[in-house]
Symmetry: C2
Subunit: 482 residues, 2 copies
Amino acid sequence: MASLAKFPNYTNQTLDSRRISHLHSRTKAFHGQISFRNSNLSFNLSSNLNSKRSSRGMRMVVSASLIEPDGGKLVDLVVPVGPTRELKRRQAERLPRVELERIDVEWVHVLSEGWASPLRGFMREAEFLQTLHFNSLRLDDGSVVNMSVPIVLAIDDATKQSIGDSTKVALVDRRTNKIVAILSDIEIYKHNKEEMIARTWGTTAPGLPYIEEAIKSSGNWLIGGDLEVIEPIKYNDGLDNYRLSPAQLREEFEKRGADAVFAFQLRNPVHNGHALLMTDTRRRLLEKGYKNPILLLHPLGGFTKADDVPLSWRMKQHQKVLEDGVLNPDSTVVSIFPSPMHYAGPTEVQWHAKARINAGANFYIVGRDPAGMSHPIEKRDLYDADHGKKVLSMAPGLEKLNILPFRVAAYDTKKKKMDFFDPSRKDDFLFISGTKMRTLAKNRESPPDGFMCPGGWKVLVDYYDSLTPPETNPKFREAVPA
Amino acid sequence: MASLAKFPNYTNQTLDSRRISHLHSRTKAFHGQISFRNSNLSFNLSSNLNSKRSSRGMRMVVSASLIEPDGGKLVDLVVPVGPTRELKRRQAERLPRVELERIDVEWVHVLSEGWASPLRGFMREAEFLQTLHFNSLRLDDGSVVNMSVPIVLAIDDATKQSIGDSTKVALVDRRTNKIVAILSDIEIYKHNKEEMIARTWGTTAPGLPYIEEAIKSSGNWLIGGDLEVIEPIKYNDGLDNYRLSPAQLREEFEKRGADAVFAFQLRNPVHNGHALLMTDTRRRLLEKGYKNPILLLHPLGGFTKADDVPLSWRMKQHQKVLEDGVLNPDSTVVSIFPSPMHYAGPTEVQWHAKARINAGANFYIVGRDPAGMSHPIEKRDLYDADHGKKVLSMAPGLEKLNILPFRVAAYDTKKKKMDFFDPSRKDDFLFISGTKMRTLAKNRESPPDGFMCPGGWKVLVDYYDSLTPPETNPKFREAVPA
């Protein structure tokens, strides 16, 4: 009789590695340590199994081929350069129009480059229901890919009316009035906001950032279909060069000869705790026999909540961290992940991991309470801090990804540096939360030595300076004597 | 490149049969019609594939072997008859005690007989998280079984405290103070009620029956572990003979030489619309080559909401339906399904189907809005009426089950009988909802001829008579002249 699969218990000190399926093993890290299923180095570099598997006691030859994207082929929904674009644009001009808000355009961007492969457009109801109930999609060949957040487009009653019997619509950026894409073979179905929110966020409490911004006042219908994006989505904010598509990232990893790619998702400034983890991961991958593990430092570039540091400042900060030598530019690719942020904890972390598979990452670093936040109306965190990494280790469709959970890093007041938290001398450690970090920078106070490289910290202080209204900014007050 | 699986669109008139996976085909019914994947009768009788598969154009030989239970072997958690029982009972007396409410005992019953196979006790956190996020459990061999509702046991702070470091607890029925079971290798974890409710019901609106009864005032911790049930759960309500375990049902089906078992879950009196569907299903299974399809008429016997007809009256009504010849006793097994009712729509219908696989059913009939109810605070149904059957057809772990969705039956005022609703002459049909049916019976009014067999209807009227308080009951009022 088959027994239930055992998943690692992240509250124990010992590593509980195990076989997840016939096809795929999964490499596990624990409390800052990466450990592998077989002590003699049998791990799964990629799902296409080009790497030679170890036989008893033999070292594995690590292949340089990248992990296969979900569905086998990276989806690319941008109309090829050339006369077709003009043709499509003119075709679109005759179609019923659906207006896109900022976040909708971000999803068009995400879909167009294949981050959500094999999804080819906004979800129809069959995809939507599978996402809500199973966090995964079944493919025609019976295999399963992960898909945990609904990628949907809402329309209101009037728009639905105006579409009538048309099987196609033009998607138009409301801010520019520019046609962005054509959605074909459309399906319109009910937008049950309450159910979608409850099943995605595990709460219906008011005040969740994405819901307030993108769902609350959206229409009562969802429209799904196949997307053709007229031309690549650009933001013209000086950062488009950092917005590498999954195909471009794969090209870059191949150019660099990466034999392992480990992704680090973030939406905050990089402090030395993060850096410790990333350098430690690389060191261990090298120890395990990889010759050239490449870090994908992958800040989220879409919608974030109002008190997060804006993308442009975060990018400046990340640049300083590389300039200051905290991370090694030779083994690091910094790029922007175009997705908006849901703050949906264990549900969203699956999306963050899945999208990185499509970009070629076969190792994914996951920390405490990924994509978590405070409960909007109760005095507690919305999600259990351990659920993110647990759910990630169990998620259907992510078996081919090596999940690297890690112990939280904190400031060690004895060693005067960021280090992995040691519960046996817990009083030596200082936890500096995102809120605490922001408050320090806002007040132009310095964090303890070794928390963040000085160049990076200065960027943060500059950011908060730029926010301070003139009348309360000391620099300006000095210039205007009372 | 793999493409997304297409699921049948139940709003169309045409059947969209398709292959779900390499291993399993799925038989589909549509608008009261059962259709099969290949017109030359290639369908999947059971997952253990004992039946000979059709080759091109040849008729398949249908085997009598029943569908395999989830996990390969039916779980049985009752301590074997004999001295071990007394031993276990004495062992339990020395353990910390956890008190069970009525619904907890119903879950012990469900677990003990293997309805939730391969689950061997109340869920630990790893099972709980997989249920909440994926509605399924991964087994050690990498395969997946369906598991959509959390089967959990809540304890309060004081009970947690009293358990201390013990690895085992005794489960005690609070109503009788009798030891029911031992739970071993226990794991205690947080009971985040809001998240569990949101992800299971798709709403957190107050007033849902199961939540009010079993969750709202329950403790802040969940306790999981392996269950050993001292002796079979009995209710001593005169109906225990109807409570066949999955093993007993399988024995019965084999005794009868069933070559197909089709299950009908219900928690309402059987009207002729239900009967039409069941007899029609049998007719079509016979047409398709089965020699002896057996109906499992399977009323739910656990907790139901206050305005549902109680089990004892429903059983009387079902008995009348068989006596009156509406259903054929020779091809029908009436038994009680011991699970409590969640009223959790698309999430719960998966549980209802999965449990019947374990009882040997390989066909499952699903109607409009299964396990649905009105939204507790808004004027609408809680779930989309089509989502239940759609989600069921997509659900991981249910691929081996043949899902038989059917068109709603209604009273045809022209034919003066229950028939499948024909939208082309919709004004001829009268919809008699559960509420309407109950109101008619309560007022001792008769439904239209042909809605329900007279014997069955009389049981309903008798039930409502038995409820009416003496002062408003005409029979009693006559006896007490004003």
